[in-house]
């Protein structure tokens, strides 16, 4: 199947992604992989979950198939379907079957966004059976030892409709992610945005303060990702206050009062 060979190669990560370990997460993930267990990454948005997966895939030398889940995601979208090509029906693997066949790492990002009936397909993959039934083909794919399933979700969501079912969550080894400690985060922001350490530290300072506002009406504090965005703008020559306003404050909230407070935070640091 030359077509598919090519496709899985697209998912291979060739250059080492930048990832700064904060604790034992890499050791744990390696162990989880060695024991063929599925992995659940919990944490707020933009704190490095996806980057961690990229790094892990690179280190394990496995292709990484990432699926961003949404509420229209059907089983067919994951597993695959027949398509008509030139009057003939051709089977197209979905990302999940693709990863299973190739022994890749399949990473379902924001799994809670997927419909619950879709989430169920991963159940047999996520326990010791490690198999994926492809009903249309009448095939039962058994995952090779190299295959790994990883999912992520953000427990900060407050919608009662978006929660992970116990039957799903109790299949995973869960790694909790949070924003990195200040000195790590400074290093990350400096490195990713190409900034000097001082500016990066100031960005982190702003973020730390916004995270302190969670009880005062802010749903979530500024993520590392936002800081990197702001950092890139600053690096590109935008004034720091403006960069923070557009890349940190405005994305965080629409409430005028909260925005004002956020801008006060920014203007006290920059």
């Amino acid at each position: 199947m030359p077509v598919q060979q090519e496709r899985i190669e697209e998912h291979r990560i060739t250059a080492e992604p930048y990832y700064l370990p904060r604790g034992e997460e890499l050791e744990i993930a390696r162990m989880v992989y060695a024991h063929r267990l599925p992995l659940l990454l919990k944490g707020p948005t933009g704190c490095g979950k996806t980057r961690f997966m990229e790094y892990l895939a690179w280190e394990l030398e496995r292709p990484l198939v990432t699926v961003s889940c949404h509420d229209d995601l059907t089983t067919g979208d994951l597993v695959g379907r027949y398509l008509i090509r030139g009057g003939e029906a051709v089977w197209m693997d979905g990302p999940l079957s693709l990863a299973v066949r190739a022994g890749a790492i399949c990473y379902l990002d924001e799994i809670v966004e997927a419909r619950k009936d879709t989430t169920v397909v991963i159940h047999p993959l996520a326990d010791d059976r490690r198999e994926l039934p492809v009903e249309k083909l009448g095939e039962l794919l058994t995952a090779p030892p190299e295959f790994m399933l990883a999912v992520s979700y953000n427990p900060g969501y407050q919608s009662v409709l978006k929660d992970l079912k116990q039957s799903t969550r109790q299949r995973f080894v869960a790694l909790e992610f949070d924003y990195p400690a200040a000195e790590f985060e400074t290093e990350i922001v400096a490195r990713e945005a190409g900034l000097d350490e001082g500016t990066a530290r100031n960005l982190v300072k702003v973020a730390t303060m916004t995270r302190g506002l969670k009880d005062s009406g802010l749903q979530e504090g500024a993520s590392t990702r936002l800081l990197i965005h702001a950092g890139k703008l600053i690096k590109g020559g935008i004034a720091p206050r403006t960069a923070c306003r557009v890349a940190v404050c405005a994305p965080l909230s629409d409430e005028p009062e909260m925005l004002a407070a956020l801008e006060e935070i920014v203007s006290s640091v920059f």
Partner: protein, 811 residues
């Protein structure tokens, strides 16, 4: 006199008033033709008014009069002629207060000065600044700090007091920066440990000062007042210390919050310009004032206005001031680093420098008169009071919790009392003393090597009479807090707790103890209550009484809807969108549209020899929102006033929105007194239509008695589990802590409520708590779980926030 007017001049008109005419002649006499020309250009009534006002200024100051005529064009460009008089009056006020220069400037900046005042923009009140300042401050401090008004800014460690109004600048933006600087400065004092130092940590310096001045520290005074009392002039020492600490804090802020300090430069300059000139002061005050000015802006190294001798002292002092906070302050320390109080460059250094500056000033004769506070003042006594109050609260909680946790036999096996143990000496009891209560970090194997109690590490076990008790998490946390405060858990805390051992009934105030015995209650609606200290239920403990709220004839609902007319429209649209947002269900057996993807797939399947599916349609499904929501409303007396009103308004809007959406919902209120009478008021049942009766009951919601939250939560959980719905939602609306008249308060009430919510979750109900409080309390995340609560600090926002919250919850 008209006759004296030079007829050769271009002025061919006269003023209607004698004063005006005199002025015209004066101008003509001095050859001020351009003024006359300009005046001539005005329409008659305006000209008369200008002349009248100019004539009024003339006797006060010629210069100002000419200035007025210079600026009157500009004034007329933004003022109506009848406002001129007001403008001139304000200008003369400024002249009298601040002199010609200020008045001239005032005239020139008519737009900024006078118009702003007319528009009410002259100052910024703390109330107006709070909505912006408080979240900023909380973000900065990473925790709870409150704001309150006071004439001078200071802090007691919990609240930062700031002036009720700031009118240093004409623009409110600039005044806000003043607030921001003052508040941040107070935070800096807290952060850098100015108020939490301890004289005992600097014995060398204290001894030296005692030797030098022969005064003993006033033992009762809190830090740093005890330090200042070592000097012959304690007030002067206190002001010097504050000066040094100001310098240290400003330096720290410069480092940590450079943006703020850059913005604050004009503020500091303005503050400086408001201070009395050093020349107007005498003796030590004069030099101290000069130093203060330097600390504020870093300007004036030369020491203007000082005598030659003073200048020398002044410069020597600057060297000391410049050293304040210099080394040791780790630039890499993140904002939340904390605990900078004791290290190099900390408050200890400021103490030494205070002594140095004090000696410098000793060379000057004259008494010290207090100078104006720089950016705020220290109130060590108030800080101490807060600290003591917190300490006492912790002690009570610890003793109560530990006493309830220990089994009764602990009391008998322990011989601990004040006399038996060597507790009076303050030394920890030796580990081998049988029968003494002590806390240890870890249950170790090598018992001989046990650390003395609370030396370091968190205490986890309590040893009494050779028996070890593993302490629950809450008590451990309390013990840690006490340790952080006092360095150890004092033995008398332990003995007091052991004395109360086995007191499983909480000794609450009030007459509850007698009538509120241990007997179980009977009835259909009797609920258990969770006792966290015994980690078990009190069986059949609370009786719930369902009650009807008598509907009242009131225009409450309709007037609420009228008041929120604008927002309501938007609200309804949002909720309508949620209904319409109903996804097209793909791959249905029947439906309104053909699912093209499914058709293609089935064709492909057919080609491939797989039996094709028949689910080829898309259907718009509206029944998918199968949600049953119960709103549980706090009707305790503490909601009296605004809270209750806003709660009702919020519910009225919520009902409108939900009627549009079509979700099933119920509203119940709760209040009551003691466990025998937990009242549960019906406003609307789940499947009851939103009728006038419901509106009447909604209007009848009013504050009643206490807040025992456990029973109503358990009851609603029971109601909801009986309902067939995909999602069951329990939304509680309350203010502050749960509390009842009897022993239902503090940790006990919080733990029971928490447990009731956990039970609800276990039963498949999604609880969500909305808490209205002036500030978020520490216990809230613990009580409601990290993500399923929302905190509202301004109750007036609730009516519009509630539907928003519901929307976030259910989409």
């Amino acid at each position: 006199m008209p006759t004296t007017l030079n007829r050769d001049e271009k002025v061919t008109w006269k003023s209607a008033t004698t004063a005006g005419q005199a002025l015209l002649e004066e101008l003509a006499y001095w050859g001020k033709d351009d003024y006359l020309e300009r005046l001539a250009a005005y329409p008659e009534p305006v000209r008369e008014e200008v002349l009248r006002l100019a004539a009024a200024i003339w006797p006060v100051s010629y210069a100002l009069g000419y200035n007025f005529l210079d600026q009157v064009d500009k004034g007329l460009s933004c003022l109506a002629p009848e406002q001129l008089a007001e403008w001139v009056k304000a200008t003369l006020d400024v002249y009298e207060r601040e002199g010609l220069q200020a008045a001239t400037r005032y005239l020139a900046e008519v737009e900024d000065n006078f118009l702003c005042r007319l528009r009410g923009e002259h100052g910024l009140s703390l109330t107006a600044a709070t909505s912006r300042l408080l979240p900023y401050l909380r973000g900065l401090a990473g925790g709870e700090l409150a704001l309150a008004p006071a004439p001078v800014s200071w802090t007691d460690g919990e609240t930062i007091f700031l002036p009720p109004e700031i009118s240093l600048f004409k623009q409110s933006v600039a005044n806000f920066t003043v607030y921001k600087l003052l508040a941040t400065f107070q935070w800096g004092l807290l952060k850098l440990g100015t108020l939490t130092g301890d004289l005992a940590m600097f014995p060398g310096l204290a001894k030296e000062l005692i030797n030098r001045y022969g005064r003993q520290p006033a033992g009762e005074e809190p830090f740093p007042a005890d330090f200042c009392s070592l000097f012959p002039a304690p007030r002067q020492a206190a002001d010097l210390l504050m000066l040094l600490e100001s310098q240290r804090v400003l330096r720290y802020l410069q480092q940590q919050l450079p943006g703020l300090m850059r913005d604050s430069l004009p503020v500091c300059r303005r503050l400086q310009s408001r201070r009395p000139a050093p020349a107007s002061l005498r003796g030590p005050s004069r030099v101290l004032e000069a130093w203060s000015r330097w600390v504020l802006t870093g300007e004036g190294e030369a020491g203007e206005g000082l005598g030659p001798e003073e200048k020398k002292l002044y410069r020597q002092g600057l060297l000391l001031l410049a050293a304040a906070g210099e080394p040791g302050e780790d630039a890499a320390a993140p904002v939340q680093g904390g605990g900078a109080g004791q290290q190099e460059g900390g408050v200890g250094q400021s103490l030494e420098l205070t002594a140095g500056l004090y000696q410098l000033l000793a060379e000057l004769s004259g008494d010290y008169e207090r100078i104006e506070p720089l950016l705020g003042i220290l109130r060590p006594a108030a800080v101490q009071a807060v600290r003591l109050r917190r300490r006492e609260e912790r002690r009570q909680r610890f003793v109560e919790a530990l006493g309830a946790f220990l089994p009764p036999e602990a009391a008998t096996s322990a011989t601990t009392d004040e006399e038996a143990g060597p507790v009076t000496g303050g030394a920890p009891p030796p580990p081998d003393s049988e029968g003494l209560a002590m806390l240890i970090g870890r249950s170790g194997e090598g018992d001989e090597e046990r650390e003395p109690p609370a030396a370091e590490g968190a205490p986890e076990y309590l040893v009494i009479g050779g028996r070890e008790f593993k302490l629950p998490e809450e008590i451990q946390a309390l013990a840690r807090e006490i340790q952080n405060d006092l360095g150890r858990v004092p033995p008398r805390y332990l003995s007091a707790a052991v004395g109360q051992a086995g007191g499983s009934a909480i000794r609450g105030p009030g007459p509850a103890a007698g009538s509120d015995g241990e007997e179980s209650l009977v009835g259909p609606l009797v609920y258990d209550e969770w006792d966290y200290r015994r980690q078990g239920f009190r069986k059949d403990w609370c009786k719930l009484l369902p009650k009807e709220l008598a509907p009242v004839q009131s225009t409450f609902v309709s007037s609420t809807l009228a008041r929120y007319r604008g927002s309501l429209h938007q609200l309804k649209r949002q909720f309508e969108m949620m209904r319409l947002q109903q996804r097209h269900l793909r791959r249905q057996r029947d439906g309104d549209e053909i699912d093209f993807d499914a058709v293609v797939e089935s064709l492909a399947d057919a080609q491939a020899g797989v039996s094709p599916t028949e689910k080829l349609f898309i259907r718009l499904d509206r029944d998918e929102r199968n949600i049953a929501a119960v709103f549980l409303v706090d009707m305790s007396s503490s909601t009296e006033g605004w809270v209750s009103l806003s709660l009702k308004e919020a519910l009225a809007l919520m009902c409108e929105a939900l009627e549009v959406l079509g979700d099933r919902y119920a509203i119940y209120g709760f209040s009551g007194m003691r466990r025998q009478r937990s009242e549960f008021y019906h406003v609307k049942h789940l499947d009851e239509p939103y009728s006038d009766l419901v509106r009447g009951r909604l209007a009848a919601i009013n504050p009643r008695e206490y807040t025992r939250m456990g029973p109503p939560i358990r009851h609603v959980t029971k109601l909801l589990t009986a309902v067939d719905a995909r999602v069951r939602l329990l939304i509680t609306l309350s203010d502050g802590k749960p509390e009842d008249y009897d022993d239902y308060k503090g940790d006990y009430a919080i733990e029971d409520t928490r447990h009731a919510l956990i039970e609800a979750r276990a039963a498949g109900v999604h609880p969500f708590a909305i808490t209205i409080d002036r500030q978020a309390q520490d216990y809230i995340p613990h009580l409601y779980g990290a993500v399923s609560y929302c905190f509202i600090d301004d109750v007036r926002k609730l009516p519009l926030r509630l539907p928003g919250i519901y929307r976030t919850l259910t989409t």
